[in-house]
Symmetry: C2
DNA sequence: AACCTTTTTTAGAATAGTTCTTGATCTAAA
DNA sequence: TTTAGATCAAGAACTATTCTAAAAAAGGTT
């Protein structure tokens, strides 16, 4: 029944976090969805298919715990529902208004996102969020838009 | 009674926007507050002092209209209440966890915030939001933190 | 295993920020 | 001045999220 997994699915411990069934399920949904960035509600739907007893509150709990442990990242774009992603590399988020999807955008080789900003002396950055909005040029909606 | 204002207070028309008393009041509150970035509720408090009849819904309306017209910018940091700022130059926002304030951070001379990101071909950025979180090193709370 | 303690989960209520609705008021144009 | 459309005010409604309290699960210890 249990499928053989070649990719290690974060059985690794994240800061001594207790990996409960629910947390594992939530994490798995997130990493199975790959480059997509689901909202808590979307995670809940998929998680519930696999574990019918799970509740929305638990999904929120798990997402918060996993975020706190550094296993996943919370992505906020405008005031829309938070999205979550398992990509821990430094990256920006691109929200395509054509296909309504959020993509990860990596840093250029050797580039440093912080250095373009003129930070006052003594100012220490602990976290940085970069979100872009536009058209991705890939999705059906975008190709029409791009043609114009 | 009316103070002489040397600085022009956006009597300029923003994309043919009708500058009603309420919109002007909301805009004035925002620009009077200078580098601070008030929430809608905070704008409402100050606006109501000057125009007791104004309602919260109207403040939201005005902020939305002004944002749409490009007169002000909406600033979202995490899922906290939206803040608004009249600074139209390209800039990032720094949220100080010590003093709970949001500061504007300008671009380094000649720098381009977009170029550090490896955007796929065909991808067009229409808007970019950069938010940082950390300690500013200026406020009372920060100086203590910085000493450690 | 049985017991105890702590953590986690669940379901539903509560909350906060924001948007929507409706009727009243204002504005600009004819 | 009339008319049509835009804007405003007040409060209800909505949505994403957090809180609460009780039940369940997980460890650790005998």
């Amino acid at each position: 029944m249990a499928q053989n997994r070649t990719v290690s699915k974060a059985t690794e411990d994240f800061g001594g976090l207790r990996m409960t069934k629910q947390r594992q399920a939530v994490y798995d949904v997130l990493s199975d969805l790959g480059p997509q960035h689901p909202t808590a509600a979307e995670v809940f739907v998929t998680a519930k298919e696999r574990m019918p007893s799970i509740s929305l509150a638990t999904v929120y709990n798990c997402l918060e715990t996993l975020t706190g442990a550094g296993a996943i990242k919370q992505v906020n774009i405008d005031r829309e529902a938070s999205r979550y992603c398992p990509n821990l590399q430094p990256h920006a988020h691109f929200y395509c208004t054509g296909c309504n999807q959020v993509f990860d955008i990596g840093l250029e080789r050797g580039a440093d996102a912080e250095s373009v900003w003129s930070l006052p002396a003594g100012c220490r950055v602990e976290e940085m969020h970069v979100a872009m909005r536009g058209i991705c040029g890939r999705c059906p909606n975008c190709s029409t838009a791009a043609k114009s």
